[in-house]
């Protein structure tokens, strides 16, 4: 069953990027650990632009004598940057240590302080591609469980199945990727946040509370999406097999800039090398699928037939359909677009 619901030997490519350009610290093919810094940017914390001409009310000809520092020079707090000579001399001093980054058109620009930004990899793997100036694509091989929705956060930790939160000590939940199998998230959300879980995985979410889930502080992944559906015993059995293993909770939001899909990923320790040729895609026939729309939202099945002809749906739309046998043996016809293919 595990093989049917989860994609084994899956090649995950995960982008790790800085928000603004900086320096990439890794090289192609480099093996990296979870938490490795992939790229960093050192930005000035503050700038100060001093308009010498305007403030000193001097002529352009006199400017050369007023500015005491050159571009590129380091300065200490209190250093004189510009001075207007005269009976009552006026002085511009560096408000703190920094660097003169520009002297142009009568303006002196100081950069002060440093701000470090780091792009840290949430997963272990191999650098598959450098994203110039920003970061890298990290490759990892393992098992993947497709998910429908995430709140845009990434986490990793040991997988723990939780039937009732009250049955666990808070310390047992710390830094775990918790799968709720029998409780509504809203009932236990605060407890889980306070317990310091790494992330939460649920089957389905209440769509009327979507904004609360989006803005939650804990990484959150929904396997089926929004709707009213309970996790199947087959899925629980699959997750039970994976309990205790390291899980990457990749809670990518829909329409994210890197077009990454939400998933729960379980890395394998060996064989992290990238294959030259990825596994060829097999036929859809026999694929395990999950239903998107009503009335079977979230339920699982298997494609048993792919008719050639388009068929008229209940809505009146003409569409290509596939025949799916649901877990409890009923057979229905569904548009292929309305199915999540779990595994080939």
């Amino acid at each position: 069953m595990k093989k049917d619901l989860i994609q084994e030997n899956f090649s995950l490519i995960h982008a790790v990027k800085l928000p603004v350009p900086g320096k990439v610290l890794v090289h192609l093919g480099q093996k990296i650990d979870r938490g490795s810094v992939i790229a960093e940017a050192v930005l000035p914390d503050r700038f100060q632009v001093f308009d010498v001409l305007n403030h000193f009310r001097i002529d352009t000809r006199d400017m050369e004598f007023c500015i005491k520092r050159l571009a590129g020079e380091d300065v200490q707090k209190g250093d004189v940057i510009a001075r207007k000579p005269g009976l009552v001399s006026r002085i511009f001093r560096a408000p703190e240590a920094g660097k003169v980054v520009s002297v142009r058109d009568g303006r002196v620009t100081l950069a002060m302080g440093e701000r470090h930004l780091e792009a840290v990899s949430p997963i272990a793997g191999v650098v598959a591609e450098i994203i110039p100036g920003l970061g890298a694509q990290i490759f990892a091989r393992g098992s993947k469980l497709n998910a429908a929705w995430g709140n845009g956060k990434i986490a990793s930790g040991s997988l723990l199945l939780v039937d009732q939160v009250k049955n666990f000590d808070q310390k047992d939940l710390v830094e775990k990727v918790v799968v709720l199998t029998n409780e509504r998230l809203l009932d236990v959300m605060t407890i889980l946040e306070q317990a310091g879980v790494a992330g939460v995985v649920v089957w389905a979410l209440d769509p009327l509370q979507a904004d609360r889930f989006e803005n939650g502080s804990v990484p959150l992944l929904s396997l089926a999406g929004f709707g009213d559906s309970e996790i199947s015993s087959a899925m629980i059995a699959v997750l039970k097999e994976l309990e205790g293993k390291t899980a990457y909770l990749l809670a990518h939001e829909p329409f994210n800039r890197d077009d990454q899909k939400a998933a729960l990923f379980f890395p394998v320790e060996q064989n992290q090398a990238m294959g030259l040729f990825e596994t060829e895609q097999k036929s859809l026939l026999g694929s395990q699928v999950r239903f998107w729309g009503s009335p079977y939202f979230g339920s699982l099945g298997e494609i048993i037939e792919i008719p050639d002809e388009e068929e008229r749906l209940g809505s009146g739309i003409l569409s290509k359909v596939v025949v799916v046998r649901r877990a409890e043996e009923s057979v229905i016809r569904v548009p292929l677009e309305n199915l999540e293919i779990l595994s080939f």
Partner: protein
């Protein structure tokens, strides 16, 4: 000698290709292919072109696997037009000297393209140069636009901005953004020399050359070049297409807008041209009016307010829970097809809402676009052109026609046309290479006319006659006479495949768009799918307050249209 042209469009989930040739004496579309595949999937693109080759018998590639152009083979291609709408919205920063004269035009310019403004600096409101610099350094963006100052006007503030940009460019090194300068032209060369960015700097004309005039067209070439370079870096797999000297690149939206302008210029009815393009993930409205191009982009969203608005306008009773679930799940899976009547009802309401939101957004962006969410279009547009895969997944033309009618709420007399194959963008990009191609292909009736719509504006109450009309379907046919009542939506079916003349005779207080209340006359309409639609439902559309009765009325309208 035969002239052949190829057009390729790359969008987020598919590539399309069109083959045009004058092999039969004048230009016509000889082949079309649509191939599913991600933009970086070169194999899918090649499979689509191979499909086009077998469909047309034309050799698009030579033995070396390169495009077969006419300078090598006289039966080869003259040129290729490439349009592109894939990729996430380009993160854009805009800097303007003032709100009214720089930032507002810049917003209009940015909205023309698939861009998202992530930083705005109004130099008048934020004169502190240090703060401006900090904002620039701390924000990630790929494109930056600067505008402000009339030509030969004051330079000081703009010079300070340019100095800041120089520091930013130094700090970013090779990963610098593309910069488009569209301000005071006296500083154009200064900016170019100061920034030393080579091909990453794009000097445009001043979009506000004097305080009374705004002309965004001065910035189009620079913007297109900047966008091409952003996408070029984003999709290195497509490098061979992007930098080929015989392949003309245009963002898809720009190619469509160019065709809108051409149509407006060539038609003689004095009306504007409106285009609505809807894909599952995004949409776009382009209005060409009096030579002005107005454009707005929309990216699919399902915020609580979106969900609430859609829930309120359903034609069937569906629980808010189901509406929210459908919309949120569709964000994750835009290709989803409504399979039940409830889902169809949500889908139709959502499309209606998206179009209204885009039209209202365009009005907000550009006050010269006259639209009101309750009153509909307040200006005359004909034709109204529709395209995109977001519309074609409804069960029938009647379904999608009603959705459009309810959201656009046209004014006066207009024709609604469906661009089945999305040919407008293809023609838009090839227009520069061969203007005869555009004229001749449009003359081949490449678009499908859906219906002629007559909107009746009348103060009369429901049940009172607002319009009488006489339909002349040509020789040998009896003339039909109809009477239209206030609050009514009526479809008048006509003999398929032939032109029809209609005499409109409105009541004294009714306006049908002939220039004056009570004024009527003859109008002609080409063959269409649905015939003539008379919309006397009023503006705002009169709907019963009771939800059940309202749903019945909406269902009746759908039936009236033939669904």
């Amino acid at each position: 000698m035969t002239k052949n042209y190829l057009a390729i469009d790359i969008s987020p989930r598919r590539s399309q290709s069109w083959f045009f040739s004058d092999r039969s004496g004048s230009f016509a579309l000889h082949g079309y292919n649509s191939q599913l595949g991600a933009p970086e999937d070169v194999q899918a693109l090649m499979a689509g072109l191979a499909g086009l080759e077998s469909q047309t018998g034309m050799k698009l590639f030579n033995a070396g696997g390169r495009f077969n152009f006419s300078d090598q083979d006289e039966d080869g291609l003259e040129r290729i037009g490439l349009t592109f709408s894939a990729g996430a919205p380009i993160r854009t920063a805009v800097i303007g000297l003032s709100e009214k004269f720089s930032l507002q035009p810049l917003r209009r310019l940015v909205n023309f393209f698939n861009c998202e403004i992530v930083l705005e600096i109004n130099v008048q409101k934020e004169p502190n140069i240090s703060v401006q610099l900090e904002k620039l350094v701390n924000t990630g963006f790929d494109l930056l636009l600067v505008a402000g100052g009339v030509n030969n006007g004051p330079e000081r503030a703009l010079k300070a901005v340019i100095n800041n940009l120089r520091l930013l460019v130094q700090l970013r090194g090779a990963e610098r953004p593309q910069i488009v300068y569209a301000g005071n032209q006296a500083l154009g060369d200064y900016a170019k020399l100061e920034l030393e960015m080579g091909d990453d700097f794009h000097l445009a004309g001043n979009i506000q050359p004097d305080s009374q005039r705004e002309d965004l067209s001065f910035a189009y070439p620079a913007m297109i070049e900047a966008i091409k370079r952003v996408r070029f870096n984003e999709y290195p797999e497509l490098r061979r297409l992007f930098d080929h000297p015989k392949i003309d690149f245009l963002p898809t939206e720009f190619a469509r807008a160019r065709m809108g302008q051409w149509l407006e210029q060539t038609q003689k009815n004095g009306k504007g041209v409106l285009q609505i393009h809807l894909e599952p993930e995004y949409g776009q409205v382009i209005a060409n009016r009096d030579g002005r191009r107005m454009v707005v982009w929309e990216h699919l969203s399902a915020t609580p307010s979106d969900i609430e608005a859609v829930s309120k306008s359903l034609e069937l009773k569906v629980e808010p829970f189901a509406v929210a679930a459908y919309m949120l799940n569709k964000l994750a899976y835009p290709a989803f097809i409504p399979a039940t009547l409830e889902e169809l009802s949500i889908e139709m309401a959502w499309i209606r809402y998206r179009i209204r939101k885009m039209l209202s957004g365009l009005k907000q962006l550009d006050p010269s676009f006259l639209y009101d969410a309750a009153q509909g279009l307040r200006d005359e547009y004909e034709p109204i052109l529709l395209s995109g895969h977001g519309l074609e997944r409804l069960p029938s033309f009647s379904h999608f026609f009603l959705v459009l009618l309810d959201s656009i709420m046209p004014n006066g007399i207009t024709t609604i046309v469906w661009d089945d194959l999305g040919t407008l963008a293809a023609l838009g990009v090839l227009a520069k290479a061969d203007s005869l191609l555009v004229t001749q292909v449009v003359d081949t009736d490449i678009f499908t006319s859906l219906a002629m719509v007559v909107s009746v504006d009348s103060p009369l109450s429901a049940g009172q006659t607002v319009l009488r009309l006489e339909v002349d379907e040509g020789e040998g046919e009896l003339r039909q006479h109809h009477q239209i009542y206030a609050a009514e939506l009526r479809r008048i079916e006509v003999v398929p495949g032939q032109d029809v003349r209609v005499y409109l005779s409105p009541e004294e207080s009714s306006d049908v768009g002939m220039g004056l209340r009570g004024l009527g006359g003859w109008v002609s309409t080409p063959p269409s799918k649905l015939g003539i639609i008379i919309d006397a439902r009023g503006r705002p559309i009169r709907l019963p307050a009771d939800p059940r009765t309202r749903r019945e009325v909406q269902r009746d309208w759908l039936w009236e249209l033939g669904a």
